[in-house]
C-alpha cells in the first residue's frame, strides 16, 4: 500500500515535470478558477458572519413618551363657577360634584384629584415674562375653572363615561387628556410633560406590557436613560459641534426599553404589537438592514453555485487535458503494463496522483493569492473607513483561513482526481 502510494507520488511528480509548460499553464488556470471560487466563498463567509452577528445584536428600542398628548390619559372635569356663590356654597358644590363623579361607573376613584384654577393660573403666569404678564390684566380666578382630574378603569368605554360625566349636575365641561392639553396650551405656558410620579407609573406599566408579549425575551429587557444617552453623546462632540445642541432640553432623547426577540422571523408582528402599546412613542429596530443582508446572502449564494459549477468545469477540462498529455506520453508504458498484468487501479494510480497534485498545488497557490488579496482589501477598508469595518463585522483572515483552505483543498483534490480519471479511462481498455 505504502509502496503503491510512493510510486504513484514519484511518478506523478515526474509526469508533471515532463509536461513542463502544460503543467504550468494548467496550474495557473486552475489556480485562477479556485481563486474566483474563493472570492465568492469569502463573500458568503462574511455575509453569514454579518447576519449572525446582527441577529445576535438585534434589539428593538421601545421609546417611552413623556408627552401629555400621548401619555396623559387623565380626564379633566371642569366645575362651573357662578360668581354669585359665596365661597362656602362653592365649596359645597365642589364636594357634591366630587361625590357625583365617584358614582360614575368606570371612574378610578383613587385617581380623583382636585386642581384649583388659581394654582393652574399661577403656574401659567410664572412661566411668562413681565411684559407678557402685563397683557393678562384680569388675573381673575375665573379665567380657568377649577377641575377634577381622574383616570378611567377601562379606556375602551371612554366615550360613554365622558358623556356620563358631562351630564353631572354642576359640571361645565369634560375634556380628555389630549383636549385638556390642547385647551391648556392654548392659554400657553403649561408644561407639555406628565408629572414625574405619573411618568414612573407609565414606565412600570410599559415594562409589564412588554413582558407580556410572547416573542419577547422577558429575561433580557434593558433600559436606556435618554438623558444619560444624550449626555454621553454630547461628551463625544467637540466644542464647535456642541454649539448646535445648545439650548436643547436635556431630555431630548426619550427613555427607551431595549427588547430582544426570541424569533426574528416574526419580528414585524412583534414590532407592531409593541407600537400598539399605550404610552409608546416609537419603536426602532434594524429589521430592514437584516432583510437587506438576507437578500444579499440569497443572491450571492445563487450566483456562487453557478460560478462554482462553471469554474469547476473549466478546471476539470484543463486538468483532464494536462493528464491526457501525460497519459499519451506514456501510452506505450501503459500498454506494456497491461500485457504484464497490471491492474487498472495500479495503472491509474500515478495519473490520478498527478491530477490530485495539480489540483492541490493550485489550491495552495489560490490560497496564498486569496490571503494576499483579502488582507490587502481589509487594510484598505480599515484605513479608509474604520467605523464601517468595525460595525459591519467583516471577518479577519485569521478567522476564515481554515474553512477556506479546507474548501480549496477538497475542491482542488476532487477536480484533479476526477479530471485525470476521465483521461485515463479511455486508455485502460487495451
Amino acid at each position: 500500500m505504502f509502496r503503491a502510494i510512493r510510486r504513484a507520488f514519484t511518478e506523478g511528480v515526474s509526469g508533471m515535470a515532463k509536461n513542463g509548460l502544460m503543467t504550468v499553464t494548467s496550474l495557473l488556470v486552475v489556480t485562477a478558477c479556485i481563486f474566483v471560487f474563493g472570492v465568492f466563498l469569502m463573500c458568503i463567509f462574511n455575509i453569514n458572519h454579518m447576519t449572525s452577528k446582527m441577529a445576535n445584536d438585534y434589539q428593538v428600542d421601545v421609546y417611552v413618551s413623556r408627552d401629555v398628548t400621548v401619555a396623559d390619559d387623565s380626564v379633566s372635569v371642569f366645575v362651573a363657577r357662578d360668581f354669585s356663590f359665596d365661597d362656602a356654597a362653592y365649596q359645597e358644590k365642589l364636594n357634591s360634584v366630587e361625590t357625583l363623579i365617584m358614582g360614575v361607573p368606570n371612574v378610578d376613584v383613587s385617581s380623583i384629584a382636585y386642581t384649583s384654577a388659581k394654582t393652574k393660573l399661577e403656574g401659567f403666569l410664572s412661566a411668562l415674562s413681565e411684559e407678557e404678564k402685563a397683557d393678562y390684566e384680569v388675573p381673575s380666578d375665573g379665567v380657568i375653572a377649577d377641575s377634577f382630574s381622574l383616570r378611567l378603569e377601562d379606556y375602551d368605554s371612554k366615550v360613554e363615561t365622558l358623556r356620563l360625566l358631562g351630564e353631572l349636575k354642576g359640571v361645565q365641561e369634560v375634556l380628555d387628556g389630549k383636549e385638556t392639553y390642547a385647551y391648556l396650551s392654548s392659554l400657553g405656558g403649561l408644561s407639555s410633560q406628565v408629572s414625574t410620579a405619573r411618568y414612573d407609573e407609565i414606565k412600570a406599566q410599559i415594562k409589564t406590557e412588554i413582558m407580556k408579549l410572547g416573542n419577547v425575551d422577558s429575561q433580557d429587557i434593558g433600559f436606556v436613560d435618554g438623558k444619560e444617552k444624550f449626555a454621553s453623546f454630547k461628551e463625544g462632540l467637540s466644542a464647535q459641534e456642541l454649539k448646535d445642541f445648545e439650548g436643547l432640553p436635556d431630555d431630548l432623547i426619550p427613555d427607551a426599553y431595549t427588547v430582544k426577540l426570541k424569533d426574528l422571523s416574526i419580528a414585524d408582528e412583534t414590532i407592531a404589537e409593541l407600537e400598539a402599546l399605550p404610552y409608546v412613542e416609537s419603536v426602532e429596530n434594524s429589521r430592514e438592514l437584516i432583510a437587506v443582508i438576507d437578500n444579499l446572502k440569497d443572491i450571492v449564494q445563487k450566483i456562487s453555485i453557478w460560478i462554482i459549477v462553471a469554474f469547476a468545469l473549466v478546471s476539470l477540462f484543463i486538468i483532464s487535458n494536462t493528464i491526457k498529455l501525460t497519459v499519451h506520453n506514456r501510452r506505450k508504458e501503459i500498454n506494456i503494463m497491461k500485457y504484464v498484468g497490471a491492474t487498472d487501479s495500479y495503472i491509474r494510480g500515478p495519473f490520478i496522483m498527478e491530477g490530485i497534485m495539480l489540483g492541490i498545488l493550485s489550491a495552495l497557490f489560490a490560497f496564498f493569492v486569496s490571503q494576499w488579496t483579502y488582507e490587502g482589501l481589509m487594510s484598505a477598508i480599515s484605513s479608509s473607513a474604520s467605523a464601517i469595518s468595525a460595525n459591519i463585522g467583516l471577518m479577519k483572515f485569521a478567522d476564515l483561513w481554515g474553512s477556506l483552505l479546507g474548501a480549496y483543498l477538497v475542491l482542488g483534490g476532487v477536480i484533479g482526481a476526477f479530471g485525470s480519471s476521465i483521461s485515463v479511462r479511455r486508455y485502460l481498455h487495451v
Binding site: 510510486r7 506505450k332 506494456i336 500485457y339 504484464v340 498484468g341 497490471a342 487495451v430
Partner: protein, 230 residues
C-alpha cells in the same frame, strides 16, 4: 493446457479474421503458429491474451474460460502468461534490471523476491553483465533477451511470442530460439507466431498453419515447407 474450439473472430469493421479454428496444445509443448500476414496468427495471439474477444467458439487456457473473463479479472489472467513482441517493448527510461523488476512490481512482488528473481532470469538469458545498461545501449538481440527475461520472471505457465525474431539477423535469431527452447525444457509451454522459415524447419517442433482464417495443417515435427501457395 490451451484449447481453441471452433473459434471465430469478426472484427467491428466486418473483417472475418478467424473462421472456426480448433486446436489443442498440451502442457510443455513448443508450438509454431505459421502463416502469411493477415492469415489470422496475430488474431489467435490476441485472443489468447484476451486483448480481443472471440465472436464465437470457446477458448480455454490453463482451465480458464477466456471468453467468460470479466474486465477486472483480465490482469490476473495475464499474469499466468508471458509475452514477447517483435518490437521488444522495453521502457527506454529504465535500465535492464529495472525493466525486468518492473514486471514483478506490477504484480505486487516483495522487494526480497525481486532482488532474488531478477538476477536469476538475467543470468538465464545471459545478460547479467549488462544489468545496469539502458535499452538504447543494447543490440536488438540483447533487447529481445531483456524482453524474454521480463516475460518469464513471474513464472508464467505459457510463453507467447509474436514474431520474436522478426527484427533480428539470422544468427541472433538462433540465439533467441536457443533461449526459448531452454525455457520450454524447464516446463513452460511456448507458443510462437512466426514467418521465419529457417527457424521452423530447424527446430522440428509442432507446426500449426493458419491460412485465411482456418487451420490448414497441424503436424508434429513439421516444417514451414509447402505452406505458401500464393
Amino acid at each position: 493446457m490451451i484449447t481453441f474450439e471452433n473459434v471465430s473472430k469478426i472484427y467491428d469493421n466486418g473483417y472475418g479474421a478467424l473462421k472456426g479454428v480448433s486446436f489443442h496444445i498440451d502442457k510443455g509443448e513448443f508450438v509454431f503458429l505459421v502463416g502469411s500476414s493477415a492469415a489470422g496468427k496475430s488474431t489467435i495471439i490476441k485472443l489468447m491474451m484476451k486483448e480481443e474477444s472471440a465472436t464465437g467458439g470457446s477458448i480455454f487456457i490453463n482451465d480458464i474460460d477466456v471468453n467468460a473473463l470479466r474486465h477486472r479479472e483480465i490482469p490476473y489472467f495475464r499474469r499466468t502468461l508471458g509475452v514477447v513482441f517483435q518490437d521488444f517493448r522495453l521502457l527506454p527510461n529504465k535500465n535492464v534490471q529495472e525493466n525486468v523488476a518492473y514486471a514483478m512490481e506490477i504484480v505486487g512482488a516483495s522487494n526480497k523476491e525481486i532482488r532474488k528473481n531478477v538476477p536469476a532470469v538475467l543470468s538465464q538469458v545471459g545478460l547479467s553483465a549488462k544489468a545496469k545498461m539502458y535499452p538504447h545501449q543494447l543490440s536488438g538481440g540483447e533487447q529481445q533477451r531483456v524482453a524474454i527475461a521480463r516475460a518469464i520472471v513471474n513464472n508464467p505457465v505459457v510463453l507467447i511470442a509474436d514474431e520474436p525474431t522478426g527484427n533480428l539477423d539470422p544468427e541472433t535469431a538462433h540465439e533467441i530460439m536457443a533461449i526459448m527452447e531452454e525455457i520450454n525444457k524447464r516446463g513452460t509451454t511456448v507458443v510462437m507466431a512466426t514467418h521465419a522459415e529457417n527457424i521452423v524447419n530447424d527446430m522440428k517442433k509442432r507446426v500449426i498453419v493458419v491460412e485465411k482464417g482456418i487451420i490448414t495443417r497441424d503436424e508434429n515435427e513439421g516444417g514451414y515447407g509447402y505452406v505458401q501457395s500464393n
